[in-house]
């Protein structure tokens, strides 16, 4: 019993010498000394800005960025690594994007209302009942043909600002919408084209890196197609279109796909990229 007590009390004694604690009660002390204390003490309840938040030190962010970049190249199926790369490298760019959103009326509304796209928030029956040619119908067909679901997006964890965490979450969740608008499937070629579009649009370092290094795994023929036709088309559309984060997609389900494309200045793809199956 005495040894058990000692075992339980020892961590408290350790924290007396080292300010900062793990329990939520001593939240004040934890926050003010966060500069000195290793972030271990802060990662449980006390310093979280949003539910999934994992606070990280600059060294950890550097290691994460390097590690996730390497792992994403090594194993292209690790989509979580691409997400982590985006979170750890995108802080400055996210601020620019957030300010862009604030200046636009529709974007500001999105920032305020914080809509989320997942199977629970989408009204699937309503979407299915929409007329042929509408944006909602096209989106649903995209999800069916490529057998993807809006629920596979990992939540943001390593962004140390709650609003920016929402911005990057929103960017991830509209990724499928961009696929629909650009008419690209979810195979490697399609993904790279969408990444080029996103890189020009958002300027996120992760998009730029994926756009530059993604084509490494492609065959020579696909690479030729990519460089000669698809990339110029994606870049041109990316430059011409207004910020895609400013579009409130959830209010545009009934809008015809062509009309939405025209509004954003997106033209038809130069050649048809075959989808899965």
């Amino acid at each position: 019993m005495a040894t058990l007590l000692r075992g339980l009390l020892r961590p408290l004694c350790a924290f007396q010498g080292n300010p900062g604690s793990s329990t939520g009660k001593r939240r004040g002390r934890g926050k003010e000394s966060r500069g000195r204390v290793p972030l271990r003490a802060v990662s449980h309840g006390a310093g979280l800005l949003y539910p999934e938040h994992i606070p990280t030190s600059p060294l950890q962010k550097l290691l994460l960025a390097a590690g996730s970049a390497g792992m994403a190249l090594y194993d292209p199926y690790r989509h979580d690594m691409v997400a982590v790369l985006g979170e750890t490298t995108g802080h400055r760019t996210l601020k620019v994007l957030r300010d862009q959103m604030k200046r636009d009326p529709e974007g500001a509304q999105i920032l305020q209302e914080r809509p989320r796209i997942s199977l629970s928030t989408l009204d699937m029956d309503k979407l299915r009942g929409l007329p042929e040619g509408s944006f909602g119908c096209a989106y649903l067909r995209f999800l069916d043909v490529n057998r993807v679901s809006p629920d596979t997006r990992a939540p943001t964890r390593f962004v140390d600002d709650e609003e920016l965490a929402y911005v990057i979450q929103r960017y991830r969740e509209i990724h499928d919408m961009l696929h629909t608008l650009l008419g690209m499937p979810t195979n490697i070629l399609g993904e790279i084209v969408v990444k080029w579009f996103e890189a020009v649009q958002t300027g996120l370092p992760m998009c730029i890196l994926s756009a530059l290094f993604g084509p490494i795994q492609l065959s020579a023929q696909s690479l030729r197609l990519l460089i000669s036709e698809l990339i110029p088309w994606a870049v041109e559309n990316g430059r011409r279109a207004p910020c895609v984060l400013n579009v409130y997609y959830e209010r545009r389900w009934e809008q015809p796909l062509q009309a939405l494309r025209q509004e954003l200045g997106i033209t038809e793809p130069p050649l048809r990229v075959e989808g899965l199956v």
Binding site: A14, S22, P38, L39, H44, Q60, L63, L64, V84
Partner: protein, 327 residues
Amino acid sequence: MAALGSWALWSSCSRGRSRAVLGCRLPGLRSSSPRSPLGARLLSQEKEATETHFGFETVSEEEKGGKVYQVFESVAKKYDVMNDMMSLGIHRVWKDLLLWKMRPFPGTQLLDVAGGTGDIAFRFLNYVQAQHQRKQKKQLRAQQNLSWEEIARKYQNEEDSLGGSRVMVCDINKEMLKIGKQKAHAQGYKAGLAWILGDAEELPFDDDKFDVYTIAFGIRNVTHIDQALREAHRVLKPGGRFLCLEFSQVNNPLVSRLYDVYSFQVIPVLGEVIAGDWKSYQYLVESIRQFPSQEEFKEMIEDAGFQKVTYENLTSGIVAIHSGFKL
């Protein structure tokens, strides 16, 4: 006794305060503020009885077992890869040193608790097999004039290459045992090996059964360490040996500083990049800090009834091997 009864009533009164006011029959106690010495002491007693640490978090004891189970369930597949990455392969040396210290001979019955993926068990089997082969070679060399019948009998009796040694791998986690069985199958270990699902605090074995009990990097995850130690004492034969390989307190201040930085900055990142699991590896490094020091653990082992308890630091105390005998 009366104090205990009134404590129970006081605690139930305080908990039921938010619900409808049931007649709390001891107005004296109800009105006493928690700052009174009696109240404060009772509060802290209640807290110690049901709460424990999970890394740097505080959880109830019932929760801890489940949470630890989830951690190991999720890390099982990448467990060995991560061990190599995090310790830069040094964990293999530590485990070899544990076997070296054990010096089993053919015929030893080993119980490896929290043995999950089988690292200690496989090393044990290799060791006793090598020992047995060496013994047999020595025997053959000593006997130069064997008759035909004796030689034939020697070849026929070659079934038991382990000389009677057996190892039971016991683990509370099904995923870890699954990985261990797959490894055994892949590496060709069949004889003398058994896989048991069991809780270190309540081992499914009779008293006085094993010659050696080992627990490598497992005891810090047990909710009631003293209970596990008592169980170890129970299942060992008189003369049996208890061996524990576990992370411990570093004794060198420079190494300690580097080790801290490495543990908290690098290891969770490795966990996220390689295994896609930050939180489990955060728990790992925190649970290491929560484990008692070498001396304290030695006292705990002595409390459980072991004698001649010693410990040996490896790598400046990052890891320690504690050893005790049931006499």
